[in-house]
């Protein structure tokens, strides 16, 4: 039973991180209908920025709390800046091109960013500093769920709630929903669509950066290639829950995380990713628009 709970929490932790990255995919897809393959790279850049800033501050002798806050902030700011720039450079000029062109542009961008980080930093695995200290009150259950896991799960839930509130209540959130429904109509009623798209990329990237920071301190090492597999998994999570749907991305992330965790725990760790993808294929066969996605009605 204890093993089950342990696996359950480790699945929740993974799921939270997939959910954080999946949100960026799902928001961008909801608004411009593009699979943003460079999103995984944004997450990787977030992790690297956090690493660099945290190490620099550590060397200059800042207190731990300041390091966590500043590294998180820096990761979010720079990742957002990268997300914003990528949209302006690689996607905006071809917004009206045939549907596959932005996809290829995104794949090109992803290759570019991976190699940029490889050249600018290093190709080796870097040991990521353990940012989150162990809390004392967690001591009695530390063998089942570690402090880092707890912090990841709680912060994901908080972020999720804030994001839902933002999209439901705020002016920008409403503009985002309007743009997602019908871009031309949104333009006609005076919504600055370009700005909305930029905001979407900025928010999505900031979430990915937080995901990057959290997973890096959870796993303990980073590398220029981590964005790729995490990106694909997060995209799987987004599709699983129904792409374009924000609660769907969260649900998809958790389901994916739990499946992987139980499959590795009870069956075999070699086939972890096979389980994830098989689950995706199965769900899509029986529910082609994902768990919470709206079924597309085709009219003639």
């Amino acid at each position: 039973m204890e093993y089950f709970i342990e696996l359950f929490f480790s699945g929740l932790t993974r799921g939270s991180i997939y959910a954080l990255i999946a949100l960026g995919y799902t928001m961008v897809y909801g608004i411009i209908g593009l699979i943003n393959f460079a999103h995984g790279e944004i997450y990787m850049i977030g992790a690297f920025t956090a690493y660099v800033i945290a190490t620099v501050l550590g060397i200059y002798g800042f207190p731990v709390l300041a390091i966590i806050v500043l590294a998180g902030l820096a990761a979010a700011i720079w990742s957002s800046a990268y997300g914003y720039t990528i949209e302006k450079v690689a996607y905006k000029p071809i917004r009206h091109a045939p549907r596959l062109s932005p996809l290829i542009s995104a794949i090109g961008m992803s290759i570019f960013l991976q190699n940029y980080v490889l050249l600018a930093q290093t190709s080796d695995f870097l040991a990521f500093p353990e940012l989150i200290p162990d809390f004392e009150f967690m001591e009695p259950i530390a063998h089942i769920v570690g402090t880092t896991d707890m912090v990841i799960i709680v912060s994901t839930i908080v972020i999720m709630l804030l994001l839902t509130l933002f999209i439901k209540k705020s002016r920008t959130g409403k503009a985002m929903r309007a743009t997602a429904q019908d871009r031309t109509m949104a333009k006609l009623i005076g919504i600055n669509v370009d700005q909305v798209i930029s905001v979407t990329f900025i928010i999505g990237s900031a979430l990915a950066a937080l995901g990057g920071l959290l997973i890096a301190s959870h796993i303990g090492q980073i590398n220029f290639y981590i964005g790729f597999i995490a990106g694909i998994k997060a995209f799987t999570a987004a599709v699983l829950g129904g792409i374009g749907s924000i609660p769907g991305a969260v649900l998809g992330g958790f389901i994916l995380g739990l499946t992987e965790s139980f499959a590795t725990g009870y069956v075999s760790s070699d086939y972890e990713d096979v389980f994830a993808f098989s689950l995706l294929v199965l769900i899509l066969i029986f529910k082609p628009s994902g768990l919470l996605g709206k079924a597309e009605v085709q009219k003639v």
Binding site: I59, S101, Y116, L119, L126, S278, I285
Partner: protein, 428 residues
């Protein structure tokens, strides 16, 4: 006086351009600061600031920003001019490659050049060219699925892997030769195409893309982990090269032989795909791509049409897979990653979807480019990614886009005039 004004306007425009570019360059300096300037060593606890990189970024982005503005202006001007003309505009490249008058001599010259290629160039060059030809066939195969039938397949490399592993396994375990396995590999890949095709029949667009991606990854992961079957990540080595009537070939001879086999396969593929394009099946695919419901209303069996697209596309991948295994004599799962699928898809899209000449040009550009960019060593993949983005920005329809035949009625001449139109493939 008027001249002065014009001059003034020009000056103002130039100044705004320069300030804009300066802002862009400042932005990129900010953007690249933490990763490009700072380098830390956590063990030694040292920080290194590489200020010279900041200077390079500033100058580089400033120039790129000015130049790209200039090119984009040219592009919009051309589009405005094109909008004024009612006649369908056909690009220079499209015109050349769609007139038999030009196309046939070019194709003939290309064939002749290909035949004497190994005699002129070194085996190293021949080897690279063989690889490029393999990607031509892969591109043409994927073009059936993506370009013609409009099914976005991100896991095409899975079929390539099926072909390669079927030759490797049948050769090492049962000692079967290359020419026997070539059709077997093709059939096995086609079977896998149908296996994949069945569950995804109901899916469309991006859902289809992610399931095919998942399928490709599943195949690769199984090959990587099922040690008893595929010997895992260490791969299979000592695969036989293809035989030529039992003759012993030296290494150079077999490189040339491989090259000629590929030339044969490329010609066969071009012939086949070309015939397919105007067949009943080819037109059914195009109808399916444009509108699924209308296509079904016309009495086209959707299931059968989609499955044949998957199966036929996979067949070529299987054949190239067999050739790949025979060429390198060693395969492991690392050759069949998602990047490979992405590159094959990029060949189709950058070359021009649905266009045979386009796919051939795309394959040569994308495969030979990294080879000849080797001079840039570490920077070649960086340049490769950047070029992919740039081609899509300046030519989203691909290098040579597909030109579809259509008949136009001209009331003055009272005759049906054959004309062509640059309808882009896959614009749905």
């Amino acid at each position: 006086m008027i001249n002065d004004n014009a001059q003034n306007n020009k000056d103002i425009k130039l100044i705004t351009e320069i300030t804009r570019s300066l802002k862009v360059s400042l932005w990129f300096v900010f953007l690249t600061f933490p990763l490009l300037v700072i380098k830390v060593d956590a063990l030694e606890k040292t920080v290194e600031y590489r200020w010279q990189n900041m200077l390079y970024v500033a100058i580089g982005t400033f120039l790129v920003s000015l130049l790209s503005k200039f090119f984009l202006d040219q592009n919009t001007k051309r589009k405005e001019r094109a909008a004024l003309v009612t006649e369908p505009q056909i690009g220079f490249l499209e015109r050349i490659f769609n007139e038999p008058k030009y196309l046939y001599p070019i194709a003939f010259a290309a064939c002749l050049f290909a035949l004497i290629f190994p005699l002129i160039f070194s085996p190293y060059q021949t080897n690279i060219m063989t690889t490029a030809l393999m990607y031509v066939v892969l591109g043409l195969g994927l073009n059936i699925v993506v370009g013609m039938a409009g099914l976005l397949d991100l896991g095409f490399v899975a079929f390539y892997a099926v072909g390669a592993y079927s030759y490797a396994l049948l050769n090492t375990h049962f000692d079967l030769g290359f020419w026997i396995v070539l059709p077997i590999g093709a059939i096995l890949a086609a079977l896998f195409g149908i296996i994949l095709g069945f569950p995804v029949l109901r899916l469309r667009g991006d859902y289809l893309a992610i399931v095919t991606l998942g399928f490709g990854e599943i195949i690769r992961l199984v090959l990587e982990n099922w040690n008893e079957f595929s010997q895992g990540p260490s791969g299979i080595s000592n695969i036989d090269r293809p035989g030529l009537f039992g003759m012993e070939l030296t290494l150079n001879q077999s490189i040339n032989y491989m090259f000629y086999i590929m030339i044969g396969l490329v010609l066969f593929t071009i012939f086949f795909v070309n015939r397919l394009q105007n067949s009943r099946l080819g037109r059914a695919w195009i109808a399916l791509r444009e509108d699924e419901i209308a296509c079904q209303a016309m009495g086209i069996d959707k299931t059968k049409t989609k499955l044949t697209a998957f199966a036929l596309g996979a067949t070529w991948a299987g054949m190239v897979g067999v050739i790949f295994a025979a060429k390198t004599t060693f395969i492991n799962p690392a050759s069949f990653t998602f990047l490979e699928s992405a590159i094959i898809l990029a060949i189709v899209v950058i070359g021009g979807m649905g266009s045979i000449v386009g796919v051939i040009v795309g394959a040569f550009v994308l495969i030979l480019l990294p080879e000849y960019l080797r001079a840039l060593s570490d920077y070649r993949m960086l340049a490769f990614g950047a070029i992919m983005v740039m081609v899509m920005i300046y030519r989203p329809q691909g290098i040579i886009s597909n030109v579809r035949k259509h008949i136009q009625y001209d009331p003055e001449e009272k005759t049906a005039k054959k004309s062509v139109d640059t309808t882009q493939a896959g614009k749905s």
